[in-house]
Symmetry: C2
Subunit: 157 residues, 2 copies
Amino acid sequence: MDMTFSKDRSAGYLANHMARLFFAGLSRRIRPLGLAPAQFMVLLELWEEDGLSQADLVARLDVEQATMANTLARMARDGLIDRQPSPTDRRARLICLTARARALRPQAIAAAQAQNSEALAGLSTAEQAQFLALMKTVIATMQKRRDASPGPGGAAE
Amino acid sequence: MDMTFSKDRSAGYLANHMARLFFAGLSRRIRPLGLAPAQFMVLLELWEEDGLSQADLVARLDVEQATMANTLARMARDGLIDRQPSPTDRRARLICLTARARALRPQAIAAAQAQNSEALAGLSTAEQAQFLALMKTVIATMQKRRDASPGPGGAAE
DNA sequence: AAGGATTGCATAGTGTGCTATGCAAAAGAT
DNA sequence: ATCTTTTGCATAGCACACTATGCAATCCTT
């Protein structure tokens, strides 16, 4: 087998590098709206369905609960969401969009679409479709492995 | 045009999600060696050529100088590198591997290769090659745009 | 040689992700 | 009904990325 290991042939390195460039590009485009990338992802879900719980958002975006708690705290600080007590569960708080957040939808989505098409501009339409399909497969593969590894002592109890 | 915007069809979202899964997988595999992913990337360069300057590493890994400074501080703290005064430039310090860091090479590279092949296990050999090629193209496209945007006032002075 | 511009690095502050921990409320078991 | 487990969320602490800033050393121009 090949003894060399070049970062330029490593899927993990390329994935990290590409994700950083996407992050920077989106960040630059939505900063004028007062948004950050992680906030935009939350807004995408809330624009679809307002009044979700934190746990709902965690499940939809596949981040850890603590990550979501911090992102939501910044969004509340920035006037993007209100948190109302859940009528059915006194532990939970429903995440509700402010008028300002609702108004940002068209510009924010346009910014994200612009970033995506700019990034993929070097690919043909067919290549773009295959690129997305390949990423989805790789994600699904890694998720399967992760969810099958319950950590130390997982199968021993 | 399509009014909907689904994160599952967004290259940027998929890139971020995939990169997080790669990060977590590599992290899990090299943690037993006392390494973190960003440290591993620096080691990859130093295993190729020891005694680089911080600026050299910044150029090779395409991260900001401040990011590299912090990563190197953690690596020095963890006994992976020594920083020796440069004989030719009193501002610079040459980054030199410790014996411990040198010894980690085979296991760390094996861990990274294992993570990459596990992640790509759902793709054929041809698909894997195309996947890497597509990522490289997308990266190059975004880098070109970034480097062509010198920021506010760039062309006006 | 002197002065201004550039280079090499460190530090502060922030965003986004993670693990680990703790607590209160809800749900389930007996 | 009480006790245990699970669930929903917050917080602390860390890694790693960024921008902005500052300082000292070097380089370049004159």
